[in-house]
Amino acid sequence: MEKIVLKNVVKIFGDSPKKALHMLQEGDSIAEISKKTGNVVGVADVSFSVNEGEIVVVMGLSGSGKSTLVRCINRLFEPTSGGIYVDGQDVCALGTKELREFRRRKFGMVFQHFALFPHRKVVDNVEFGLEIQGVDKDQRREKAEKSLEMVGLKGWGEKYPGELSGGMQQRVGLARALALDPDILLMDEAFSALDPLIRRDMQDELINLQHTMQKTIVFISHDLDEALKLGDRLVILKDGAVEQIGTSEEILTKPATEYVRKFVEEVDITKVLTAETIMKKSEDVAYLGSDGPQTALRKMKKNAISSLFVVNRDHTLAGILFVDDVRRLADQGETDLEKAMRKDIKTVSADTPAHELFPIMQDISYPVAVVNEQNKLKGVIVKGLLFSAIAERGGE
């Protein structure tokens, strides 16, 4: 379901936005408009939608209009033209009072430099949104404590923001937004001001929280690695306009423009490609109980491989067969494959990044099985596949 819809949103800063808008519609460049009218085009005709429970990362370099765009969604900036719809409601049509009400109900916002109120204790910061809504003291304290616990800051409520480290401060910022239990989180470069290590922690934490919360999140970032990690989909902006919208996979493998392609080149491909994107899905397997040694040998021969994974009836992984063992089994006239099967094999989950696959594959002589949480076989990765996947995407 579409939660947020942006239609042809334009934001122009300056004193003659109408003229600039007209020029923009005529197809004049942003530089030209700026030179002729002195107006700055922040967002130039952006359309996309965000589905319920989805994380969409709006990515671009500084000056690409991404922060302006997110502020248009809750109308901290008044869009010059275009439409913004949240749950089907035209946000631009709301009056001052309705807009305030709408912001209180729908949005939680997290800011790049945390925007914590230095004169209020941590818990009072977290309570801020509830206080604005007029929730009574006991109830908001309870919600604030719960929210602090969610972000791992239980017991820090009585401190002042100035006494906390950067990473903790942003947890407070996140807790403040979550305390309202809003449908939508707007996160404006929320992790950009943090150290790389802490940033990674916070990203992981957000992913974890999102598993349980299922919020609709618009995340602003200038860091492609972060965008690829967090985003279900990415919107790449340049000079206020959309360059490409798509999943990480689409952005990486099918960059729509030269600009995106250059961007993608910078990415460490081994951190982005996961086992799931590399693996071969339709590998032949042997079925325990129904297949005998001859069938297994035939399957190996057909695929020109020297080992074969064995699965149970419900497709859960049972083990692996090596060609020599199976041949010996056949010579002995045995029919039960299980006798030749090795069970202590390495498996990985679908979201294991490629760079973690290297050491695993170095240790073993057979392919790696990719399984899901129920231990069902999803695919197979052989060494050659890993190298060719990386060469294909990263080595251009």
């Binding site: 901290l76 305030r100 709408f102 912001r103 800011f111 925007a115 004169h119 801020f128 949104g129 604005i132």
Partner: protein
């Protein structure tokens, strides 16, 4: 050569305006008069009702609890004791009362004006040149229009003092609120705070230090003006100085001057401490 241009009628216009205002604003001047006069009487009579020694001790204890500093506390005790000792107690009480009343009125008008000019750029554009004008005009000039409104005496002195000391209260309030980081006010907006909530919960608390700095300046300006206002009959320590000048008594003039300095230092230290607390 004499150019035969008509003289620009600044003086006559001002006089005509004042005449007009005196005639038509009688209700306002009467109200101001009543407030200022009642306030003064109340303060003065309260302070004079107790023995100076008690008041010196009370003031000293108060200063200690406000500042928690030994130096200022000792200074307060010795300074006020000296004022009493050299026979300037009642003059000092009058001066202090004048300062308190004038400052209160200046703050009550000045801080809201500062808030409004911080919120509205239009108001600020109008207020700023007026403030510049008020602060550069020589202090004595304020005394003149005060007389037709209120006649010679203490109310006229308070009026002139209020006008003279108000600008920093307005300016610093405006500055303090405008200095609140944009991200914080934006955050308040994003959470759906209305203007009043934003002001009370975020802007004013964060502007507090700056506003208190303005209040400090207002008090100091009020003190200096109250002394000058002795010329139109304000009395107090300024009155002692004024009398000493007329009678050529440098000793008495100096004593009164020292009394003013003592008051100024105590007020400044206490207010400074209040402004920078937490």
């Amino acid at each position: 050569m004499n150019l035969d241009l008509p003289r620009v009628p600044i003086g006559p216009t001002i006089e005509a305006t004042i005449d007009f205002l005196v005639e038509h604003l009688a209700f306002a001047t009467r109200a101001f008069s009543a407030v200022a006069d009642q306030g003064l009487r109340f303060l003065e009579s309260t302070m004079m009702a107790v023995h100076p020694i008690i008041l010196v001790v009370v003031a000293t204890v108060l200063v200690f609890f406000l500042t928690r500093k030994r130096g200022v506390t000792v200074f307060t005790f010795l300074g006020l004791g000296l004022i009493w000792n050299i026979g300037l107690w009642s003059a000092a009480v009058t001066t202090l009362s004048l300062v308190v009343v004038a400052t209160l009125i200046a703050i009550i008008i000045g801080i809201p004006l500062g808030i409004i000019s911080a919120i509205s750029d239009t108001v600020y554009r109008i207020v700023r040149p007026i403030l510049d004008f008020m602060q550069t005009l020589p202090a004595f000039v304020y005394l003149i229009p005060a007389i037709p409104f209120f006649g010679l005496g203490r109310v006229a002195a308070i009026f002139a003092t209020v006008i003279f000391s108000m600008p920093p209260a307005i300016r610093f309030t405006n500055l303090g609120i405008r200095q609140v980081p944009k991200e914080l006010t934006e955050c308040a907006d994003a959470f759906g705070a209305d203007r009043w909530q934003k002001l009370i919960k975020i802007q004013l608390p964060l502007a507090k230090t700056t506003i208190m700095g303005g209040v400090n300046q207002t008090v100091m300006l009020a003190l200096s003006m109250v002394v000058i206002a002795a010329m139109i009959g304000a009395g107090g320590l300024g009155g002692e100085v004024w009398r000493a000048i007329q009678r050529l008594q440098p000793g008495a003039g100096f004593e009164a001057g020292i009394g003013i300095v003592i008051l100024a230092i105590i007020l400044d230290r206490v207010l400074h401490q209040l402004a920078t607390k937490d």
